[in-house]
Structure formats: structure tokens, C-alpha cells
């Protein structure tokens, strides 16, 4: 893994300045952390979402490598096609055989958990040599904060508004990382933008492995979450420390916890930092918060036993 000093000595890392993401956004850092670790040039594509529209407003592009647009549902299919074309051209001798490229498909949680899921599942099953990175900010932020299947229980969005009838989203979030691990692909990992060393190490590992790889990276959205833009990194760390977003990786079916949480914080600590959970701090929602905490604990213990850690 390249450490921060080595990464800084690389001439250009990550997105170029001048992109139109909000102040305090989390995804540009993910790109520098992950793309910076690639030993070869990266060809990437992105499904529709903030990342796609904020970085590629014509005639401006913030990407430093080849980038291809795709629709909401097919970022994985687009990149798997490019990867296949590249292999075919190499085989025919029309591209040099000794060069190498890395292929990265990107998508938000809407384009990964819901709309792009079949394209992702198909690309992973076909075994393309590519990395899929989901930047998970837990709702459809680009279209104005609608709930997705990644939205946590109790989260306020415009389609799961907190009010007298319901206290935000009533369903539990889908465990996509677990679903991807069930595809039995060589590498699956869950990271958070707040723990950059952990994320960079995972990216380095992913690029060293041949075959389909999947990473699910947690990133706050200051607009949709109603959080302080300066606290983006702090909130991303808090999600890990409250065990709502554990950091782990699955290498060839072996589950491994990459961050052991010694002093587990209560989920209300996390709720206090964001407006989307404001209603959960009211006394009438105490029972509901207890229910969510029980589910978070249950999932954490299931993960611990999968990783062979003492509960």
C-alpha cells in the first residue's frame, strides 16, 4: 500500500478541483483513496448520481483518466463490456500485450442497491476483472433525498418522512455487502471514508487480485443528512464506532473484521450529528430507538461470529 507521503508524491491523485460537488461532500476523497492505490491507469465509469453529474458538466470533466457515462442501472455492465473489449483487442494484437489497465465501475447506493443491482450481480457472476465501488450515502441524494434500500431504519427522507404516522423509514437496510459475498467472488469489502488507511489498504488489496471485486464505501451527504459539512469525516468514523457500519472484508470466503470496535458507542451518539434522525431523539420514539439498537447489536454479533471473533 502507498502511504500518504508516497501518494502525495504521485503527481496527480483523484479528482481535479473545480467539480460541482457540495462543500463537505464525501465521494471525491473515496476516488483519491481508491484510484491512488492503482498501479496501472484506471478506466472508470459511473452510474447516474451526484458523482456523475457533479464531475462531468460539459465541457468540464474532473476525471484524470478515461471515464464513460452510463445510465442509472448499467454502470457494471458498461465497465464489464469495456473490460471484455480490452481483453479481445489485446488478444488480437491490436493493443500491446504487456500493458495493463484497471477497470473500476462506480455507483451510488441507489444505482447499486436498487436500480443497478442486476447489472452488478451479472458482472460479478461472469467474472470480469473489475472493481465495483458503491459509495453509499444511504438515499437517492441526487434526485432530492428519496429513500433507497440502503437508508437506515428511522431515517427521514422525502419519501419516508418522519411525522405523526411513521418515524422515518420503517424497514431495515439491505445488507448488500453480504449479498455480494454470497456471489463467492474473490474480494468483497466494506469501508468508510472516515478511516482512510483502512480504505486505502482495501483498495490496494483489491487491485492486486484478479477477477471481480466489490467495495461498499460509506460516505456522509451533508445535504441529505442535514449534517455539518466540516464533520463529514467524523460522522463516517462514528458510524463505524457505533457498529452501524462495521469494517470488514471477505477474501475467498474468509470473513475478517478489519476494525475491532473496543468501546462500542450507542446509536444515539450517531443520531445527534444529523438532522435526518432528529425526531428519534424525542421521548416518544424511545421504544423505536431501542428496537433499532437491538437490530444493530444482532447484526454486529452475527458478523462477529462470521469473522470468528469472540462476541
Amino acid at each position: 500500500m502507498l502511504n500518504l507521503k508516497q501518494l502525495a508524491s504521485k503527481e496527480k491523485v483523484g479528482l481535479a478541483g473545480g467539480h460541482r460537488a457540495c462543500a463537505g461532500c464525501g465521494f471525491p476523497q473515496i476516488i483519491s483513496m481508491i484510484f491512488g492505490q492503482s498501479p496501472a491507469p484506471v478506466v472508470s465509469g459511473c452510474s447516474t448520481g451526484c458523482m456523475e453529474i457533479a464531475t462531468t458538466i460539459y465541457p468540464f470533466t474532473a476525471w484524470r483518466g478515461n471515464f464513460m457515462h452510463s445510465a442509472f442501472e448499467n454502470s457494471a455492465a458498461t465497465i464489464s463490456g469495456i473490460e471484455t473489449a480490452y481483453r479481445a483487442l489485446k488478444k488480437q494484437g491490436r493493443l500491446p500485450a504487456d500493458e495493463n489497465l484497471n477497470f473500476v465501475a462506480l455507483g451510488g447506493d441507489g444505482g447499486t442497491y436498487d436500480i443497478g443491482f442486476q447489472a452488478l450481480s451479472g458482472a460479478m457472476e461472469r467474472g470480469h476483472n473489475m472493481l465495483y465501488v458503491c459509495y453509499n450515502n444511504e438515499a437517492y441524494m441526487n434526485t432530492g433525498v428519496q429513500r433507497s434500500s440502503a437508508t437506515p431504519q428511522g431515517g427521514h427522507t422525502t419519501t419516508s418522512p418522519a411525522g405523526k404516522v411513521i418515524p422515518g423509514k420503517t424497514q431495515y437496510p439491505k445488507d448488500l455487502t453480504g449479498i455480494m459475498a454470497a456471489h463467492s467472488i474473490p474480494y468483497v469489502a466494506q469501508g468508510s471514508v472516515g478511516y482512510h488507511i483502512d480504505l486505502m489498504r482495501k483498495a490496494d488489496k483489491a487491485f492486486s487480485i484478479e477477477g471481480p471485486k466489490f467495495m461498499n464505501v460509506y460516505t456522509p451527504c451533508r445535504l441529505g443528512w442535514g449534517s455539518d459539512p466540516a464533520k463529514t469525516m467524523e460522522i463516517a468514523r462514528l458510524a463505524v464506532d457505533t457498529c452501524m457500519w462495521p469494517l470488514y472484508e471477505v477474501v475467498d470466503g474468509q470473513w475478517k473484521l478489519t476494525r475491532k470496535v473496543r468501546e462500542k458507542k450507542g446509536i444515539t451518539e450517531f443520531y445527534k450529528t444529523q438532522n435526518r434522525f432528529r425526531h428519534l431523539l424525542k421521548p416518544e420514539n424511545d421504544e423505536f430507538v431501542k428496537e433499532i439498537q437491538a437490530e444493530v447489536d444482532r447484526r454486529w454479533h452475527v458478523l462477529l461470529s462470521k469473522c470468528g471473533e469472540g462476541a
Binding site: L4, K5, Q6, L7, A8, S9, K12, G14, L15, A16, G17, G18, H19, R20, A21, C22, A23, G24, C25, G26, F27, P28, Q29, S32, M33, T55, T56, Y58, P59, F60, T61, A62, W63, R64, G65, H196, R222, D228, P229, A230, K231, T232, M233, E234
Partner: protein, 103 residues
């Protein structure tokens, strides 16, 4: 395709555009300055800085300038004033402080 140039300074006619609105060169967004979004600005004290580069990796806008593996200052053409750099600066150093942007 080689002749196509993207001109970021003016609105181009459709005849001038590349097929598929391809952008043939990377990082043209550097021509778009986002510095005027800022309502507060980071002030960096070089003598307090411990060169951990936490601000550099945490900056969403590539506004932290590094040279020879060292931080050398902020690029206010792109800094949106989010305050992440000041928040991630280790408390033992606290070399970055946010101040209100004056007119």
C-alpha cells in the same frame, strides 16, 4: 478526433463539438473556479503543521497543495470552505483555523 478542442471559456457551436460530446482531454474542470462558493476560509499556520497530510487526503476539492511530500498551502481557486481540513487536523497540531470570509 484529434482536432477537437474543448473551449471552456465560451459557449461552443454544435458543429465544433466532438462526436458524442467527447471531452478529449482530462481534468478540464480546473478551468471552473469554485472558490467563490466559500463563506469561510481556512487559515494555515505553517509552524504548527506536523505534515501528517490528513487534510490533503480529506479535502474533497483537491485544494490542499503538496510539494515534495509536504503540504505547502491551500488553493483558494477551488476551496469551497467546508472546514473538513480544520476538523481533521490533529488536536495536538491544530494548524488550520476557519475564519469568516470578508468582502
Amino acid at each position: 478526433m484529434k482536432d477537437v478542442k474543448v473551449d471552456c471559456g465560451r459557449l461552443m457551436d454544435w458543429q465544433e463539438l466532438a462526436k458524442g460530446c467527447l471531452i478529449p482531454e482530462p481534468a478540464t474542470s480546473l478551468n471552473f473556479k469554485t472558490g467563490d462558493w466559500r463563506s469561510q476560509r481556512p487559515v494555515w499556520s505553517e509552524d504548527k503543521c506536523i505534515q501528517c497530510l490528513a487534510c490533503w487526503i480529506s479535502c474533497p476539492d483537491g485544494a490542499i497543495m503538496v510539494k515534495d511530500e509536504k503540504m505547502v498551502g491551500m488553493n483558494f481557486d477551488y476551496c469551497k470552505g467546508c472546514g473538513i481540513c480544520a476538523a481533521v487536523c490533529p488536536s495536538k497540531a491544530s494548524a488550520i483555523e476557519m475564519v469568516r470570509e470578508e468582502k
